[in-house]
């Protein structure tokens, strides 16, 4: 994994430029939402919302912001559990969903420890951040990083970003943020999205020890020798019978033509 996104949560001011720039570049629509006593909206990532900013209030009275999207894990559950190989890793290291192959089974939704992939009810395809693979392969930064006004999102070579993150954590500790830490170095064998945090990961809604169910490997083992066609045959029955899409359901108002 060559390049990663560095999320400096202490610089983030939650302007949500990343959330919208993602929609502009990836041509994603908006859905109906409600105000739920928190600025985070939509409340989860969705098949048509690949990046969102999460707002958390702490008991100590702090207001934390973090820009979320796919972590592009080195050990990516979604790649491993996908029965049809619709989730792939690109040369630039991002985890990329192939809409043509996706059968909407939702296994990736079930197994992702970060609740990133979601299946669209309208198209029955999984949608999530592609890491702007088509931008980064051309030497551009992902749309969310490019639009960030003040460097809360950075993009670059993993080692370089890790060093920046370490320097930043040191500086934050000196400023009195004793809980400052890096998230994403070792998690899932290394995330494609490194976070500089000033509170424990769970304060930002991040799993302290992300992982995925070992049973996922069964699918992986099954898939490889049997090949694609077998997988599709095997799983489409299961999908129809057992799996439910667990993503955010979009209540579509009739008069709400977007």
């Amino acid at each position: 994994m060559a390049n990663v996104v560095l999320v400096d949560t202490q610089k983030c001011m939650a302007c949500r430029g990343c959330q919208v720039a993602c929609k502009d570049w990836n041509r994603l629509p908006a859905g109906a939402t409600k105000f739920r006593g928190n600025y985070t909206n939509p409340p989860t990532l969705q098949a048509h919302t690949w990046n969102h900013v999460v707002f958390t209030e702490t008991d100590k009275g702090r207001w934390l912001f973090a820009s979320y999207s796919c972590m592009h894990c080195t050990d990516a559950a979604c790649i491993n559990v996908c029965p049809v190989g619709a989730v792939q890793r690109t040369k630039s290291g991002t985890v990329w969903p192939d809409g043509d192959k996706c059968i909407g089974c939702g296994l990736c939704v079930q197994h992702c420890p970060f609740h990133v992939p979601q299946v669209s009810k309208a198209t029955n395809k999984m949608g999530k951040c592609t890491g702007c693979a088509e931008r980064v392969s051309q030497g551009l930064r992902p749309a969310c990083v490019t639009t960030c006004p003040n460097g809360a999102l950075l993009y670059g070579e993993r080692g370089e970003m890790m060093q920046l993150a370490k320097d930043r954590v040191d500086a934050l500790r000196r400023q009195g943020f004793s809980e400052a830490s890096i998230y994403g170095d070792l998690e899932m064998h290394g995330l494609g999205r490194i976070y500089v945090l000033t509170e424990i990961p769970s304060a930002y809604g991040l799993p302290e020890t992300p992982g995925y169910n070992a049973s996922a490997w069964i699918w992986q083992l099954a898939r490889r020798p049997l090949g694609t066609l077998t997988s599709i045959g095997l799983f489409s029955g299961l999908v129809v019978g057992f799996l439910r899409w667990r993503g955010e359901r979009i209540q579509h108002k009739d008069n709400y033509s977007i």
């Binding site: 202490q10 610089k11 983030c12 001011m13 939650a14 302007c15 949500r16 430029g17 959330q19 919208v20 929609k23 502009d24 629509p29 908006a30 859905g31 109906a32 939402t33 409600k34 105000f35 739920r36 006593g37 928190n38 600025y39 909206n41 939509p42 919302t49 209030e57 008991d59 009275g61 702090r62 207001w63 934390l64 912001f65 006004p149 003040n150 460097g151 709400y256 977007i258």
Partner: protein, 780 residues
Amino acid sequence: MTNHWIDYQHSDVIMAIGVNTAENHPMSMRWIDRARERGAKLISIDPRLTRTAAVADIWLPLRPGTDIALLGGLINYTFTNKLYQREYILNYTNASYILDPSYSFADGVFSGLADDTYNRDTWKYDLDRDGNPRKDLTLENPRCVFQVMKAHYARYDADTVCNIVGCNLQDFQLVAKTFCATGAPDKAGNILYAMGITQSTHGSQNVRGTAVLQLLLGNIGIPGGGVNAQRGEANVQGSTDMAMLFHILPGYLNMPQAMTHPTLADYNAKETPASSYWSNKPKFLVSLLKAWWGKMATGDNEFCYNWIPKLDGKNRSHIAIFESMAKGQIQGMFVWGQNPAVGGPQAELERKALENLDWMVAVDLFETETASFWRRPKVDSETIKTEVFLLPAAASYEKDGSVSNSGRWIQWRHKAVQPPEDAKSDLWIADQLYKAIRYHYSLGGVFPDPILGLNWDYGQGEEEPDIEKVALEINGYETGSLKPLENFTKLADDGSTACGCWIYSGYYNDLEVPPTKRRIREQKGIGIHAEWAFAWPLNRRILYNRCASDPAGKPWNPKTPLIYWEGGEWQLKDVPDFAWKDTPPEKTAQSPFIMLPELQARLFSPGMADGPFPEHYEPAESPVRNALSPQQNNPAITWWQGLGELASKEEFPYIGTTYRVSEHWQSGIMTRNSPWLGEMAPEMFVEISVELGEKLGISNSSQVLVSTRRGEIKAVAYVTRRLKPMMVGNKLVEIVGMPWHWGYRGLFPGDSANVLTPHVGDPNTTIPEYKAFLCNIRRA
């Protein structure tokens, strides 16, 4: 803004007071962060823990409407700890001027008050025989501005201030120590402000408070310093420059008043000061008249001066217009890209006033609440007589034209796509409107001369007007040769030049490469970007920049030299804001403020409607008594009939305050029709503390009703730790915070906070008091 966005990178301390800069001007944080990477501190002063406060180094919660108490406290701290920059105030301000013995201040009131109005005759300097102010350069005379001011603010001791503001002593002292340290000559303190400062019955004095503090600390005119008013709209600077305000003509020339300015000679005599750059005012006005009435305007007819309507001495601002409309005195109204049914104070009063109109012309991108007031909830359309024309306008990138940002940069926008279907640029609409009116007056009518005589030739028939012709007219040209004027120094008062807005002169002086369209970035330097677009006036990027160096011409801060004397000449990194040519530093040291008759900045200002020094008063509606004087409110407030009675704190015990969120803009008519933005902030909400939620049984995300004497609205409650009850005196005060972006139309509708706000404003500007009023809240 005295400075500009990029210049924030040079600040050592940035104090955001009455501005939520991260939410409402997010790009400011790009440059604030550059400064912070060098070790600069960001202070956020705001009632709520906003997104700015959340990322700031210091957050000081302040009770809405008590900014002067806080600023006064900082001024007092500066005096008592001798942190003022003595050489700066001695040379660049009126600190040494001796005041006339008739000036006085007692019990919260300045001398000269009668019937809610100040007679300002006593707010003046003690003059010598030649008419020049007497000065005491030792600053020890008890009647000099410095000493009078010091005594005035001695009352603002830390304990008193904290009791008024509702903050704790440690927080106040930390802010004072951090910010006032920028009084060191090589340190730059930067004050950012916005509507939290202006939307008050003492809003102009709030602004004065920031300016006075910055002058004392030597922070005006220097890189990284300044008083930076972060304006709310992309072109509110430009629309103000172009005089979309009742009291001015383009370029800040006062509108003629019938009583004082019956003739051009009277206007020039009374409006033209002997000193300062305003001594050129007759050139500006005559050139404006030439631009408007062309060949019709001659020396023999006072250049058609009579064709400018004269004011009757009365306030004709937003509040006054709606008061007048409510009384049935206005029959027709144009409203372009504005939505008072959501954005105006006491919105239901203003919506109701619209019913008195015979006709309304509204021009917008989307259907506004104003245009559709006749079908708002709970009214019977069939009882409303108003004829409404709603005209579809082009969006910003569907037409050509320039806009002026907060740093006064006039930047050009190019047309990218056609507007959809019948939508048209406002320029086209204005052109067609004039042509239609001219046609009807060509058939006869009451005094058609100013209309038929208008110099108006921007295009034929129904084609898009030639915007370059308009730009050239604003820039100014020689009336004979039609050659563009280089800048306003070329203006004349004999009719040989025409100029639509003198301060813009130079922005379009080259038709091949108009300065406003330039896109050349600075390669090396301190971020002035002199060849990027054009900044008025004269492409000057930092105002009052003589003050960037000491009286001898040496930069106060050697790391950011701007304009300095070296090797026997001025070194210029910006366009000088003083008479510099062949003039050594000592000759310019006492005249850095060229727009003021004193040529020095006013710590004591004789020009305000409500006092020469900012003084703390409570908002019109407040739950507490003024702890500083017996004078509860600003004594110069105009009490409009539409306001009615003020609320009692028994019936409406909480402080209501309104604000904006990142995701929406103003009355929301553009952003509430944007699916991407509406998705993030879909509904009207109110923010209350956890303590108030518990007390009233209001749970997070439940429906609530908020009421004031003006009306009631429904919203979703956001019970949050980001708002805390405040200890004011020995009383616990709660704040109910609400964004004001919603209305009854659009893709994401909701109730309007301005149904709750009062029809009362600042005595100087009449900007409404949106930031502090009394309200109540209950479960829906």
